[in-house]
Symmetry: D2
Subunit: 376 residues, 4 copies
């Protein structure tokens, strides 16, 4: 166990739980030493204790500044609100820790770049938790695209729909404040689809978007009046990819009936791929090379041992869930750390994604197209 | 126009309307002379007049006996309740008329055999209106099976679900009386799926079924008390095919939410086919020959000009409806008559199907397996 | 038959055939006098004769100028390439004929306005053939929206996908020439979805689009070298509706595997609706008023007699096809003419739609948002 | 931790792994003390060591007879081939251990009854691992049925399709030997659907089945010639329920393209429910009480905190996998043990299910209906 990686986590909410679960399980299913879940950190002490007990974190810290300095930690996992990503990541890297950071990487591309520079300067491993790259169906999609199965890509159309803000009684929370979160649906949801676009298609060159706040005020918790919503309820944008494809990205929390519906449609010269996160064990594939009268979208049930990551799990037809993508992510990260290798998506990917998000937000604010600079 | 076929129809209800529509349209889409719709016959004069006017029937008759003797009729189309199929068909054939008969062909296999013998004896063309053979997707399925696309067939599982009898207030009609209809769901619905089984897989050798009447009494129309339901609400049966496949046939009018849901699943050594009548422009196909990681059920949208019958209609993706199967059927029938050729499904098919239906009904009544004799 | 409307049609290609079919059938299914299909017109004589014979057109004309002046014609049906819509419609209206015109109504909004003014000035009935308004599922969607079933609308997202231009060997045709067609996928496909947006949601206020030609040159027919493609292969745009909804419109002929795939997603404060043209007998509906644990998208099979237009056809579960929308359209038009009433969508709708299309094309060309003026 | 339950497991293959995973995770997600995974047992030492290390089993045993006698074990988990279920369960119960046993409970109903009697006699908790009762969608289905949402049930139609035996090169294994496994597809797959039928509908009264071996001989491993397949490749049966419903059960390993496809269709007087294991986070529901024109099958995404078990996991739309059903099962079992309560499905359920399976196998062998005795 001497090579077991020791983890410190900051943030104990939804992502903190999901990642804790991954640390617990990764040793059973990946060929890595089970990580030591050394320290959990949160500013709120009550929840922290329960969280640590539930997920087996050995110690707790109330200050992330202390956590990143501890000698007994190799990897810092950042699951905080967005505004804290940059300071924690920079401090952790400077303290020589490897870092995994929840998405979106930062409040803006400038912060993201600082994180990237810090991590590179400290020569630590760095990862952004775009877990959907490790859905087996999407890892398979990437393989198939690399093999030329769908040829030259013409279109990448992504929607990400949720509906939890349709309820006008849903209270004002930090996510409604642009200053606290950077953006609303955009940073949270388009971050995922932009990363998948880069993963599957390539770099985005220009964008033009529109944003909307459908419910302008929401009641403050505790009966203290109303707060003004400044973060977008929905942000849509058009995009052009460097290699010539047209793209669309639609993120909204006002899509009644859709809970966590991320759907991709990718159309190419040789075929097409379609994916839906609510049926994440499936990938639709159309091949123009199938015999004429027999062409059609195939529904591939991505549960064969020949599919990415599936050999870790169960026999064909026994589906996995959303949380498994975290185990894949952590498994690959720990493997990379153990072998001294880089892992994707890293802070460079996070920075690039953030550039696109910033440009899209700017284009929406200024109601015009924004062109990205794609220097390295 | 001298070679235009002159039609007399008996029965003006649902099937009469659907077939009239086909006669109207077939000349436009098939390479046949438009038929002359000479005479329509029904025992009820009021509805008959309106029917004839609506669908352009040139004359009317109140007696089928007269209609089948008319010199100006070449083809008799039987759309009556089942009990009249045999007498009309035999009389028409003996009068030298070609005959198309609604399914099920007769009240029992003995009647069906008489019809077959009469038609053969008179050397006329004869057809049973199993229109689903001419759904493009099912005609394609037949082609693919003949080409070996799914190999040796292991399973043919058919369901035919409707729900119009779930309503306990639905009144007693002739279809509830076994004497009038021969059977209930069984003859009406299993007739279709048994014919498709024979079309796609082959002859059935033995059967074992169970039937049920869920609502035993229904009110008579006109407030005259209640009638006892004797015809089956549902009849299910297992079957063995001569070539070794196992089959199931489920027909019910008590499947809440299913309106006209005929679904086939055919599993073979090289692949599988799935069809659903409520999406009749689609055929699902699985090929074991697809590359391993990319296998999946393909949804073929059967609207390409390379698909059976589709070249008669519209460009790809422009779907056709249920009624088009009647036009295909009548088009093929008129073509066959014109060329002096046989057409399938004929009275032999109707007789064979009826043998299976009779055996299944017997097996349900006697609660035992019944083996069919497959002599010709 | 004295009140039978006498029709003259210009154009004998795909739309000419589809509309001819509708004239043939409408008298059978609608309560209108069967129209007299008096004259068909096309510049190419050979095809014209075959067309007229097939669909029963009583006479032919080689010049639309003559056709619109004929005394024995009440209604002119324009199925020509787009560039001829305006001159024919104006001439026909000025000659006192009622007019139905294929979509898009014209080459630009200016032409459309001339058509509208001419029709109003002549006090004739006028219709634009946006047939999808009369898909029963979409007519039902409109009813449900009017009844408040989905509440305030937040999002209208439309895609229209085809794939017939993915093939690089597909030759250069008039549709590739912006001068001949006005635009490519945009005018042909977005015209439909913009009209549906107006039908279901309301007026569009501003748009911002992007267009692309993926294959810049195509071989000319007859081996005469190559032609430069000027009409868009794809045109996408964002839109804002007057009532506050965000919209997207994606039209492309480069969506491998999609043949005629028009999909709408409409999200509102009380529920949502989803429609897919390749399954045009179905409508998905989500209601936030369903009991909590039982909420979900319902798949309504729109084949009940209580659904719009369905009482004209067959029993529940017996689906209709694409062509039936033309019969509904012609049935409503003939009824309106007979009763001296207006019918929608009329040239005002066509003009409004064209304004949106023009603005979207301009926004794509100039890479900026374009705001519409919504005066009457 | 003094109340932590100490587990001994027998069998280290697929089910052993799935259950080990559940023991590892249950403490994190359920409000139970994490179990102590004390001892793992298998006759093959090499695999046992690796298994124990991977899943944290503290000690190993090579003999189940020793394991069941150990003082430091409270609960015995039986994951062996079927022939060992009875002897181990009886011995464990007699030694005062609680017992969970993989399905089917035994080789026949006589064995099952001995197990039930032993467990009752020893007053221990007993469970059969019919994990699909604890798929949230099926637990919800049960709730809805109990609430009368679908009324009187007319039909329960179940299919369970796999395809791993279609490959003629798949070698002869113990599962092909009726003596070793009791049956083939039948005991393995129909066991699940029969249990679900009892869970959702009620007791089965009579059955009639047909079985088939499609590939009669398979090569023995190690190139030692061929073995004769005696266990069924497929077994289908009709059933009648005590409360009047008709049922069908189809199990086959020859359904090309279906990997682990268990589909239920339940039709009742007020509505219907449909479930598909490959999309286990969804439940389709049709209600006859929905307003007329808006009726349709709803697709309930069963990921709301109001749905059974879901509050243990993630927010709406974040799906769970097949393995989670084991965690639910073990969570409920440990809770029941802790509280001294019974838990379902118990050995009584296993015995009842086995009676049905035995009757169906007998009916297939004797080609006749078999009626069950439903005494307690």
């Amino acid at each position: 166990m001497s090579n077991a990686i020791r983890v410190g986590i900051v943030g104990t909410q939804f992502m903190g739980r999901a990642r804790s679960n991954a640390y617990q399980r990764v040793g059973t299913f990946f060929d890595v030493a089970p990580p030591v879940v050394r320290a959990a950190c949160d500013v709120e002490p009550a929840g922290l204790t329960a969280f640590a007990r539930r997920f087996g974190w050995q110690t707790t810290e109330s200050s992330w500044e202390k956590l990143v300095q501890r000698d007994d930690i190799d990897l810092v996992d950042i699951c905080t609100p967005n505004a804290l990503h940059m300071p924690i990541a920079v401090a952790a890297a400077q303290a020589g820790k490897h870092v995994i950071c929840e998405k979106p990487i930062a409040m803006n591309a400038g912060e993201a770049r600082r994180m990237l520079d810090a991590a590179r300067g400290a020569n630590v491993r760095h990862m952004v938790a775009f877990n959907y790259r490790r859905v087996p169906a999407l890892a398979l999609a990437r393989q198939m695209i690399e093999q030329g199965k769908i040829g030259r890509i013409f279109h990448f159309n992504a929607v990400y729909y949720q509906d939890w803000l349709v309820d006008p009684d849903f209270p004002y929370v930090w996510r409604h404040d642009k200053k606290a979160g950077g953006s609303g649906a955009h940073g949270d949801m388009n971050a995922h689809t932009v990363d998948l676009a880069r993963f599957l298609v390539g770099e985005i060159e220009s964008v033009c978007g529109a944003e909307e706040v459908f419910i302008k005020e929401r009641r403050l918790p505790g009966g203290k009046g109303k707060g003004t919503v400044t973060a977008d309820d929905a942000l849509y944008f058009l995009a052009r990819f460097r290699e010539g494809a047209l793209g669309t990205f639609l993120a909204t929390r006002f899509a009644s009936g859709r809970k966590n519906y991320l759907r991709l449609e990718i159309f190419g010269s040789e075929g097409s791929l379609i994916f839906n996160l609510e049926r994440l064990n499936e990938l639709e594939y159309y091949s123009r090379k199938d015999q004429g009268a027999e062409q059609g979208f195939r529904n591939i049930v991505v549960t064969e041992s020949s599919h990415p990551y599936v050999n870790l799990w169960w026999p064909p037809g026994h589906i996995i869930g959303w949380e498994h993508t975290f185990i894949h992510e952590i498994g690959d990260l720990l493997t990379a750390i153990g072998k001294g290798r880089d892992v994707q998506p890293d802070f460079h990917d996070g920075w690039r994604c953030q550039q696109v998000l910033d440009a899209a937000a700017q284009s929406a604010a200024e109601q015009r197209w924004v062109h990205l600079k794609l220097e390295v």
